[in-house]
């Protein structure tokens, strides 16, 4: 059990690191747009431009 005295503070350090990284990411604007990235996954297949001629 005494290993917890080491592991838990270690976990807290990791937590602090994660929070710091997230704050940095938010501050640099990476989370300003919460909608488009979700869409980009669906849309960014390399669609080739339509090759059909335009009959109109």
């Amino acid at each position: 059990m005494s290993v917890l005295y080491v592991l838990i503070p270690l976990a807290l350090l990791l937590l602090a690191g994660a929070v710091w990284a997230f704050f940095w990411a938010v501050g640099s604007g990476q989370f300003d747009d919460l909608d488009t990235p979700a869409m980009r996954v669906v849309m960014d297949d390399d669609t080739k431009p339509d090759q059909e001629d335009t009959r109109d």
Binding site: P9, L15, A18, D35, M39, D44, T47
Partner: protein
Amino acid sequence: MMTGDKNHKTCFHCALPVPTGCELTVQIEEEQRPVCCPGCKAVAELIRDTGLSRYYDLRDAPEPGVGRPPEEAAEWKVFDSPEMLDAFTESHDDMREATIYVGGMYCSACSWLIETTLGKQPGVASAEVNPITHRLRLRFPAREASLSSHLATLADLGYQPQPLSPESTVRPEVTEQRTALKRLLVASLGMMQVMMFAVGLYSMDFQGIDPDMQHFLRLVSFFVTTPVVFYAARPFFTSAWRGVARRKPGMDLPVSIAVGSAYVASVYATFTRGEAVWFDSVTMFVFFLTLGRFLEMRARHRSIDRSAALSSLLPNTATRIDNEAHVVVPVSQLTTGDHVLIRAGEAIPADGVLASGATSVDEALLTGEATPQTKVVGDELSAGSVNLDSMIEMTVTSTGGDTTLGTISRLSERARYARPAFVTLADKIASYIVVALLVVATGVATFWYFNDPDRAFVITLSVLVVTCPCALALATPAAFAAAGSRLSQLRLLVTNGNAIEALSRATLAVFDKTGTLTIGLPRITAVFVTDNAWTEKDCRVIAAALEHASTHPLARAFALPDELPVVTSHEIVVGEGVRGIIHGREWRLGNASFIGGVAEVNDSAATHVFLGVDENVVAWFELEDELRPNVAQTLENLRGHGVGTALVSGDNRAAVESVASRLAIDDVYYECTPEDKLAIIEAAQKRGEKVVMIGDGINDAPVLAGADTSIAPAHGALLAQTSADVIMLGDSLSPLTTAVEMSRKTMRIVRQNLAWAIVYNALALPLAAAGYVPPWAAAIGMSASSLIVVLNALRLNRFE
């Protein structure tokens, strides 16, 4: 998505109705799609040819007209001069960064389209769009030194780009979202960690405790909970304090008391090795509350998007006259006293006084008045209105935020930024409950203090947490927020939450005519050819050619896709019509006296435009403002829901009655002044009717404010929109029926939620007061009851 009904084809790209006779189509994904004008065709083809057709599948339904490119390409080259580049970009090493406001973007698919298209352009290092603020950050190598090509690309996509001076500060809504995200993250990570330690602490209760380990776990929980309380929960404390200072305690007060006292007691217990700690309850409570606030903020931001679009109504540049020389300057550099030149078709860049020339202007944006206003020297011109007929010079009297347009924009922005009224109402109810709750809690604390002082604190804490009026306070706003978000998908923007309640009780819908029941754009309903030498088709083509260069609102009715004959010596006569030479003969199009002939027309319901050649009348066109699609069906449905219909208009009798008879409206009032309209509505309210007013003009503003609920179409006057509870984005009136059904369903859900919250509190309070509910169970009960309320409200999102 893009389904117009059979009689009314709508443009695949911009959703405006396709003019009769227009046969333009674009092939997208194996199908021929109708478009309304060559501009939209070009945009749709550009999007298809860059392989981005998926944009059309993923975008939200467009607001009609948004995305339609202007008829004349704007001049972007001015932005390439070194002075302009310095004014509109920032240099970072060998990169330049420009901030561009993108008018006309309305959903995430737009930002994807913009980022992808610009990202593929040579010479673009990065392009990032912020969909909250509609701002594009474009970075390109300094040696490229060209902003114009990128602006032109945006314009080609159908957006209205507007370079902004570099902003040193981040927009307030962005800062708000960033802070809220950080708070949410701290609360959620903190909650997860503390829960984990709590599991250890609880299981040790059963298995026997190693006191040192218990102390250690409590200490660790204390470390994690502290930032949750002091950082994530700070808004609740400040808001509770504001409530106390203003003597209007809100629901944040018991929240703060519960969080604060549980935290202090837990800290005390930790350091004195006391009985129990409640760090787990504290963090869970804070997390759920923070999550709720975050979702509420996102909904609010979505509804203010539109007000930002107002700044794009002004042109980017103006032509200033400096000692006879014409200098193109950014509008932001105009100052009072400047002389500016405004060509026909250009928007007026600032408020001012007409200094030379005469013209007519379209002030529909400000006043909702579709008829052009004639202006002579000395008349005032308002920023944002469009110069229609001829080149004029103007002396600037006020610019930017000081203009009429600026003031109206600010008003409407403030109206939207304000917390929706229903939250205030819920807060009012909650504050009574809060006071009652504090009294009960004090009673419980006193009772247990004298009977079992050891348990007094725990029980009081449980009472405070379990009876937190969250479910009660959430019952109404959660349902209204869900209804609001569903309604916005159905193209109705709710700006005042009370509107939903009022709408659910509506018994009478009062309509304005022009621009509300009708589209507000005239269409040719009949052509009378008086000279047999010409066919109807000839007349249409010649009229279209003459009107082609005119920006007059009536001109749009004549738009034809065919090849048009060349017009020379084209001239617009202010207030009269247009003339020009086609195939060597002088043609005129305009009012009867302008042509020179007199025609027998005695039908005041329609507008007539005459076509003449060499001073002889050849034909006349009957133009009528067309009814919106599905109006008759919508009114029928409304009556089916027990909502009566009435038509109140300032127009003359013939015009109003012709519309009323086609729609089977019984209550018809014509030639009404705004005072008359208000009186009609007040009389109806005295009879006990709940009135919904649907109108778009600036003169409708007081009437809209007087009705129980008011709805304004988005293309109407801005001032009408500021006083409206609901803004109708679409071209069709059919969402009205949906709105009534939706509001009734919403009120049903609100009643269910309130009933549940009351039953829950009635059951939980005695149990907690009797000491049967430990704080962690109280926290779960409180969260669960709130969750049920929210989930019930979310059912509204699936409303069809």
